[in-house]
């Protein structure tokens, strides 16, 4: 556990306007709030599409945040991974009860960083992109431009399974933005996050057919948290937008209900 944080104290993260989308159940059953964290290039809308409402229907207050520079949050071309993690911790701490954090893609790495600064009730890492050389080598055509300050390229074919109609996948892909260059660099460097505070249970969810996260990378992340990944074969990287979006979210909420 890191007690001395002189650098963080000396350089606090600047405040920005953040987009938070929410769906709350009609009756408060006392279930913990679930906070969804989208990955690089994605905004809160990717969860608003299906998962937010579904989570609320199952009795969990559901929230999704757009990291700074994404979605409708304020622009932040110089944001760092730490600033993104700060966004997550800020929203989590503002919720009425201790929250469950669900991070997707590189947002899973952001979530892992946030877990070192906020004692979440539980965490779920979806198709986690923890960065490092392995991620870059698996996706050279996506990562190469990022090395020179360009955006990570996220073509529809990489993100979704073939089951998703082409019009839908093209529509989603057109809405994607990009993370800041600095954050992309930090992702490629792949520094390991500090251990989580408050010892939350962590579930890793992914697909063996994900074209961005390899099966080995998925297993490595899961092993780091002392478990094995929960797999949904045949699905693409963006589990929450794919045709079979219902299966992973139901599995996640079942896990939450069981572990509570």
């Amino acid at each position: 556990m890191k007690v001395m944080r002189a650098r963080e104290w000396a350089f606090p993260i600047a405040a920005v306007r953040r987009e938070v989308r929410r769906a709350t159940p009609e009756v408060d059953e006392g279930k913990p709030p679930v906070l969804f964290v989208p990955g690089f290039g994605h905004g809160a809308w990717v969860f608003a599409e299906h998962w937010l409402e579904h989570t609320a229907d199952r009795g969990f207050p559901a929230y999704a945040v757009s990291l700074r520079g994404h979605g409708d949050s304020a622009k932040a071309p110089k944001a760092t991974l730490r600033a993104y993690a700060h966004d997550v911790a800020q929203v989590a701490a503002s919720l009425p009860r201790r929250a469950v954090i669900v991070g997707h893609g590189a947002g899973a790495l952001v979530t892992a960083h946030a877990l070192a600064r906020y004692p979440a009730r539980a965490a779920v890492l979806l198709s986690p992109v923890f960065g490092g050389a392995g991620t870059a080598l698996r996706n050279p055509m996506l990562s190469l431009p990022a090395l020179f300050g360009g955006g990570l390229r996220l073509p529809a074919g990489q993100l979704f399974s073939r089951e998703l109609p082409a019009t839908a996948s093209r529509g989603y892909a057109a809405r994607l933005g990009r993370a800041s260059t600095r954050a992309q660099w930090q992702l490629l460097r792949g520094r390991a996050p500090q251990p989580p505070v408050g010892d939350p249970p962590v579930l890793v969810v992914g697909s063996p057919d994900d074209r961005i996260v390899s099966d080995t990378a998925l297993r490595r992340v899961a092993r780091g948290y002392g478990g094995a990944p929960l797999l949904f074969p045949g699905m693409g990287h963006d589990l929450m937008l794919d045709t079979r979006w219902r299966e992973p979210i139901d599995a996640i909420l079942d896990w939450l209900e069981k572990s509570d």
Binding site: K2, V3, W9, I13, R97
Partner: protein, 470 residues
């Protein structure tokens, strides 16, 4: 609020398992007792819960927040109270204050923050409001018998037995009143800063503020704006640092220098230079020259005091020599005639419910605790938040309580290791946790430098890590 979780479960009909002086003692087994639901008590509960302990908290008032709750009769908070450390130093390290709040939040925001913290971590069901602790006595097996009753003494007393006790009753509620010759016969009004709530109390009066602590300076600034006249009496020279330097909160600048690993001497040099070029030499206003270097004691953080000195709204005067019936004589012979004297002379730590020997309290009333938290030979007892830091208190007390909760866990899992750690703590019993030489007065009993202290906590936590111990 549910009340099912406590009081020896009278509903379940569990009989008392022990007796003390003819009274039944209800055994709460592994539960830890927390005394007080102020910031220290709340973070104690949260961290104990997080490490799997049951907690019962007794709070004499009817809401959380302790000193920060202005509704509490023991609260020293006044209308204009603000934090004097900026947000990164003032928030619990795992529960950030909202981005929308200012650098230096107001006392109402601090209370809101604490209330939200209690709700967020579901602490309120564990708190017995309106219940005060009368006695804390050791029981066999290093456990504790805690006697409670409802605040004000109505109703009967009950005794519960706990595995451990955290004393978090605060140290800013029992006013310290200095003795002055003739004070009893003085005809003007004399109040302690604890009774100062609202600037209207000063309006159109001739006010003498005694004490150069942060409270004394705040009140002097209020008086400068409200009162007919304001004298500010200080015994020594102090460093008055502004809240902002170099375009950012001053404490962040200080930690920037720490992050750059500048040694104390270099930081003092830079701070002296910065102050010289911004605030300037304060002796030109008639203030005494500081008799120590900056960072040797926690500095006074007040941007406005110097401003009002410069406008002549505050007249700095030396220490008080004696009181007469209608006037006050100062050291140096000057005589002034205030209508209202505000004693901003600090507070005494008071633990009326526990035998002082258990905390190593000396004749002057100063407890002798390792790291200002852990009493000698009492591994299941801790005092939370009895610190006078050069930054915010909340992060420090958070880590204190993380360490204490871990220590209790290690006692169960690896008793030999716990004993070794405890012994090591006791070896450092009299260490002062400051890099600089601190002035030895009651005001600086609990003075610490947040970096020195947190580094020590980091070492303690590393020692208490159970990895590899099993």
């Amino acid at each position: 609020m549910t009340y099912s979780a406590g009081y020896g479960d009278p509903e379940s009909g569990a009989p008392a398992t022990a007796w003390r002086d003819g009274w039944p003692v209800y055994d709460r087994s592994g539960t830890v007792c927390v005394i007080g639901a102020g910031p220290s008590g709340l973070t104690a509960m949260k961290n104990l819960k997080e490490q799997g302990f049951g907690v019962d908290c007794y709070e004499r008032d009817t809401s959380v927040g302790g000193a920060w709750n202005w509704r509490h009769d023991r609260s020293p908070v006044y209308a204009s109270t603000h934090l004097i450390s900026s947000k990164p130093f003032s928030q619990f390290p795992d529960f950030p204050m909202p981005d929308s709040w200012p650098d230096y939040p107001k006392h109402t925001q601090v209370l809101e923050y604490l209330d939200h913290y209690a709700d967020h971590f579901d602490l309120k069901p564990h708190i017995w409001f309106g219940t005060e602790v009368v006695k804390v006595e050791p029981a066999e097996g290093e456990r504790w018998d805690v006697t409670t009753r409802s605040t004000g003494g109505y109703g009967g007393e009950r005794i519960h037995r706990y595995a451990a006790v955290v004393i978090a009753n605060g140290h800013n509620w029992s006013p310290k009143r200095p003795e002055y010759e003739g004070l009893a016969d003085f005809k003007g009004e004399v109040i302690h800063a604890a009774q100062f709530k609202d600037p209207a109390q000063l309006r159109n009066k001739k006010v003498l503020v005694i004490g150069a602590g942060n409270t004394g300076c705040d009140i002097a600034v209020e008086a400068a704006q409200q009162a007919a006249r304001c004298w500010h009496s200080t015994r020594r020279g102090y460093w008055y640092t502004p809240k902002y330097t170099l375009g950012r909160p001053a404490d962040q600048v200080n930690d920037l220098m720490l992050w750059l690993r500048l040694p104390l001497k270099a930081r003092q040099f830079l701070a002296h230079r910065t102050l010289k070029s911004t605030v300037g030499d304060l002796t030109r206003f008639g203030l005494p020259q500081p008799d120590h270097k900056i960072y040797e004691t926690h500095t006074i953080v007040n941007s406005q005091l110097v401003y009002y000195l410069g406008h002549g709204a505050i007249a700095p005067v030396p220490d008080v020599a004696r009181f007469h019936r209608h006037s006050v004589e100062l050291k140096g012979g000057e005589v002034i005639e205030p209508d209202l004297v505000v004693l901003a002379t600090g507070y005494h730590p008071t633990f009326e419910f526990i035998d002082g020997n258990l905390l190593g309290v000396d004749a002057q009333g100063r407890p002798r605790l390792a790291m200002h938290a852990f009493p000698k030979r009492q591994p299941t007892l801790a005092v939370a938040g009895l610190l006078q830091p050069d930054s915010g208190l909340f992060p420090l007390v958070h880590w204190q309580m993380v360490a204490f909760a871990r220590m209790l866990r290690v006692r169960e899992a690896a008793p030999a290791k716990a004993v070794a750690v405890q012994r090591k703590l006791e070896a450092d019993l009299d260490r002062r946790w400051t890099a600089a030489k601190v002035k030895d007065s009651t005001r600086h009993w609990f003075e610490i430098s947040h970096t020195t202290y947190l580094k020590a906590i980091q070492r303690l936590l590393d020692e208490l890590s159970l990895e590899g111990a099993k």
